[in-house]
């Protein structure tokens, strides 16, 4: 196949041995760098014929090991398919190859006053194909939605080499909404070769209110009060004291390090809208017991306020040789109780944990600090992480809000879903990939694996058959 590169030497495939979750590594049989849909089709047909599993990969920025290779499998990289096929300002759409970077879409749309809303933190590097695999969010998704709400059409190749169109340029495509289930399927259904996204007008202005609270629970109540008052802020982010102190030392964003929690609340829109919303927010935050309130007065100041939140992960990296990022989501009302439970776990596992989170949608990113050279510390960090995720399920939430299951959280799926539900996931995968060759063994654990894991499926705080005593 002209133009299609195949890598098999150990030193050539080594860069593909892991994604953003570097703790899990595996060298693949080979890596194919596809440059066209025809390449994708040919590779899939060949692999299907020989029964070779295929793991798709974009930029490799995923945080759950979804792109980790399989020893007997081929990694299919879409990173070279990075053509922006068209930006149509009149129809407000952009059509892209899967390897186009998330930020590159907004850059291409910018001359027309438009942008692509989902903005995962890795947006300078991550690809739109990877965003589809993970249903990526970002700090603005409370107001503007996730990938599933902003992609209108996907063209993809199934494992048997068939080309399928899901969704369309017109709304409400006939049949079942396969696009909705394809998005977030972690590369297990089909390989995306073309994507059409919705572009929206850039907000004219944005302003941030930064509020301090002397108690995390009071901060959590303020978040609930904002939402209940009818305001949907463009961003609503929180840091606990440990996280605020860590980032302040690192980037000097002007955070109040004496506060128990810092809340960042962004308003965007027309100048009139923003002025009206900022005034309502300030009044509300005061009434909710904020101990200090600052409002950005310039774009530079707005970016400075955000710089702390955006540098939380590297700041954690300065505090400790390694950190382990969790991604559970809980109902907003359970944010405070979850933070208390995490504090108890810090003592139990003898590890520190700092917390940053998308407060608006209850998506938590606890960062567990540990030293990877110490096997015991890594083991405790893994246990600590699983404990946090299972607590999220117990509090009515989910083990992953935006990073995906991949290989990392596969055991926690045994807790969130029943045997019957996991069987149905396999059946849905079978509908797209009957040979089970596309990114197999990720995302959904088998019954055998769950039996081995030994933790029971929990729903609403209740074990199955609550009438049966357990010790």
């Amino acid at each position: 196949m002209p133009g299609c590169t195949l890598l098999t030497d150990k030193e050539d495939v080594a860069p593909y041995e892991c994604d953003g979750l570097a703790a899990y590594r595996q060298l693949p049989l080979g890596v194919v760098l596809a440059e066209s849909e025809a390449h994708v089709q040919a590779v899939l047909r060949l692999c299907a014929h020989h029964g070779i599993p295929v793991v798709p990969r974009g930029a490799g920025t995923g945080l759950s090991g979804g792109a980790m290779p399989l020893r007997e499998g081929v990694v299919l990289s879409l990173a070279r398919m990075r053509k922006i096929i068209n930006v149509d300002p009149y129809a407000r759409t952009a059509t892209l190859q899967p390897g186009v970077r998330n930020l590159a879409i907004s850059e291409a749309a910018s001359p027309f006053g438009l942008y692509y809303a989902p903005d995962p933190s890795s947006q300078i590097a991550c690809t739109i194909g990877g965003n589809i695999a993970e249903n990526s969010g970002g700090v603005h998704c409370l107001k503007y939605g996730l990938t599933v709400n902003n992609v209108v059409r996907v063209r993809a190749v199934t494992m048997d080499g068939e080309i399928c169109e899901f969704g369309s340029h017109a709304p409400d495509a006939p049949g079942l909404d396969l696009l909705a289930v394809l998005i977030g399927s972690e590369g297990m259904f089909a390989i995306v070769t073309e994507v059409t996204v919705r572009l929206i007008p850039k907000p004219q202005v944005a302003q941030v209110v930064m509020a301090s609270f002397d108690d995390v629970e009071v901060g959590g109540a303020a978040v609930a009060a904002i939402i209940a008052s009818g305001i949907i802020p463009a961003g609503l982010e929180m840091l606990d004291r440990a996280a605020a102190q860590a980032v302040e030392e690192f980037v000097h964003a002007g955070y109040d390090t004496s506060a128990a929690a810092i809340l960042l609340c962004e308003s965007d829109g027309t100048p009139e809208e923003v002025a009206e919303e900022i005034e309502r927010l300030t009044t509300l935050l005061e009434a909710q017991g904020a101990t200090r309130i600052e409002i950005s007065t310039s774009e530079a100041e707005r970016l400075r306020f955000w710089s702390g939140r955006k540098n939380a992960f590297p700041a954690a990296g300065r505090l400790s040789p390694d950190y382990y990022c969790m991604d559970g989501t809980v109902p907003r009302r359970a944010i405070g109780p979850l933070l208390l439970r995490i504090r108890e776990m810090e003592k139990r596992y003898q590890l520190r944990c700092i917390n940053v989170f998308h407060a608006g949608d209850g998506n938590m990113h606890p960062l567990i600090l540990f030293n990877g050279n110490d096997r015991d510390e890594w083991h405790r960090a893994e246990e600590f992480g699983a404990d946090i995720l299972e607590t999220c399920v117990e509090l009515g939430g989910t083990v992953t809000g935006e990073h995906g299951i991949g290989v990392e959280k596969i055991n926690s799926m045994c807790v969130q879903f029943s045997d019957g539900e996991r069987d149905m996931f396999f059946a849905v995968k079978h509908a797209f990939d009957p040979q089970r060759l596309l990114n197999p063994d990720k995302g959904i654990p088998t019954r055998a694996r769950c039996a081995e894991y030994g933790r029971l499926h929990v729903r609403g705080g209740l074990l199955p058959h609550p009438e049966i005593p357990r010790f």
């Binding site: 006053g113 438009l114 939605g145 399928c164 017109a170 409400d172 949907i232 949608d361 998506n363 059946a427």
Partner: protein, 378 residues
């Protein structure tokens, strides 16, 4: 251990919280029986959308005994309700807290239920500015065609654990399972609203609507018919005021404006009531920029959703009309009134139809539910 879920205040209204003990069990027995004996069931709520989709057969499985709001906390922006709950009751409960189902689902009759609203997947005038039901659906529990209870998604906004099977239920016409408890995201009712009208031809209206949609204007609904373009602006008071002066046109006051948008949503407006004898109401979904003349005579159309949804009356076997919609990059549905024409929905490509068939087998292996309502064999 401290059980948080039990401590939280969940707003429940006494009147809506109807006891449903045993109802799920009755459903399960009925489904298991049908599965074992090869019978078919037709899932039905209030019957307000019986006419939608292809004809189906089977004993009616009435969902209305399974009703009531399970949980609603305005600060969470989520409501969970049982499938047989009247849609009007849910809307009333939400509006008392200044919230709404933002996709403005049509009722098409006083008996409309929440489950029917999800299963048909139909949206009202706000569709293009906020999305459809599938964009708001967070979680659903179902009984499969074998009577098995399964639960997907949840009550949180961000959830990527497992495949998003809950969203697959939106618009599935009851072909995959019987919906039980459904959680959807709700939104605050915008503080200000204005409706503006101006005279304009169809071509200009489509062009203007697409241009406006690319600007930061709070347009949340539009309709063009018979030389008149009507738009609705919603949002912060100041933003709506500024947009009104930018766009111009004659302002339509409430309650007339609210009634106008409702008459479009419910298809009680004169256009929909004047069906020529024997004609079917066709729903064409096309890219918003599609030239009206590419489809049919512009004057015969009612254009909604910024140009994306177009209604017109034509013969029930007008395949040329469907082909025109497909050629424009869209699809055509034989929506209402006439029967016995060509297929109700635009056909799928062979590989996509294959995926549908395997999904149907996974959820409903014996074909118990709503046989043939979507496609032949589906």
């Amino acid at each position: 251990m401290n059980d948080v879920t039990a401590d939280v205040k969940i707003t429940k209204t006494e009147t809506l919280n109807v006891p449903v003990a045993g109802v799920q069990e009755q459903f399960r027995e009925k489904i298991e029986d049908a599965y074992a004996h090869g019978h078919r069931l037709c899932i039905r709520g209030g019957g307000s959308k019986d006419w939608y989709g292809a004809a189906t057969t089977g004993e009616v499985l009435d969902t209305r005994a399974y009703r009531g709001v399970v949980a609603y906390d305005p600060a969470e922006l989520v409501i969970t309700a049982r499938s047989g709950t009247p849609l009007a009751e849910i809307e009333q409960l939400l509006s008392a807290r200044q919230q709404m189902l933002a996709f403005e689902p049509p009722h098409f009759g006083p008996g409309a239920t929440f489950g029917g609203c999800i299963a048909t997947g139909l949206s009202g005038p706000r569709r293009m500015s906020v999305g459809a039901i599938r964009d708001f659906l967070l979680g659903a529990s179902i009984l499969t065609g074998r009577g098995e209870f399964l639960q997907f998604g949840g009550q949180v906004m961000k959830n990527v654990a497992g495949y998003d099977v809950a969203r697959l239920m939106a618009g599935s016409l009851g072909t995959l399972g019987l919906l039980l408890d459904i959680s959807v995201k709700v939104l605050p009712i915008p503080p200000a609203s204005a409706t503006l009208r101006q005279e304009m031809g169809a071509r200009d209206a489509v062009r203007k609507l697409n241009e406006w949609a690319g600007q930061p204007l709070p347009i949340t609904a539009s309709a063009w018919h018979a030389g008149m373009l009507t738009i609705r602006l919603e949002g912060a008071t100041a933003a709506v005021r500024t947009a009104c002066s930018t766009l111009g046109g004659e302002s339509m006051q409430n309650p007339a404006a609210a009634m106008y948008w409702q008459s479009l949503r419910e298809q009680s407006a004169a256009f929909f009531q004047k069906a020529p004898a024997g004609a079917a109401l066709w729903r064409l979904c096309v890219p918003s920029t599609t030239e009206p003349a590419l489809l049919r005579d512009a004057d015969s159309q009612l254009i909604e959703w910024g140009g994306s949804q177009r209604w017109l009356f034509a013969s029930a076997d007008d395949d040329a009309l469907r082909q025109a919609a497909v050629a424009a990059g869209g699809h055509a549905t034989q929506f209402r009134y006439a029967k016995n024409g060509i297929d109700v929905f635009t056909a799928l490509s062979a590989p996509v139809a294959g995926i549908h068939k395997r999904l149907k087998t996974a959820f409903d292996p014996a074909g118990v539910f709503n046989h043939g309502r979507m496609f032949v064999g589906m």
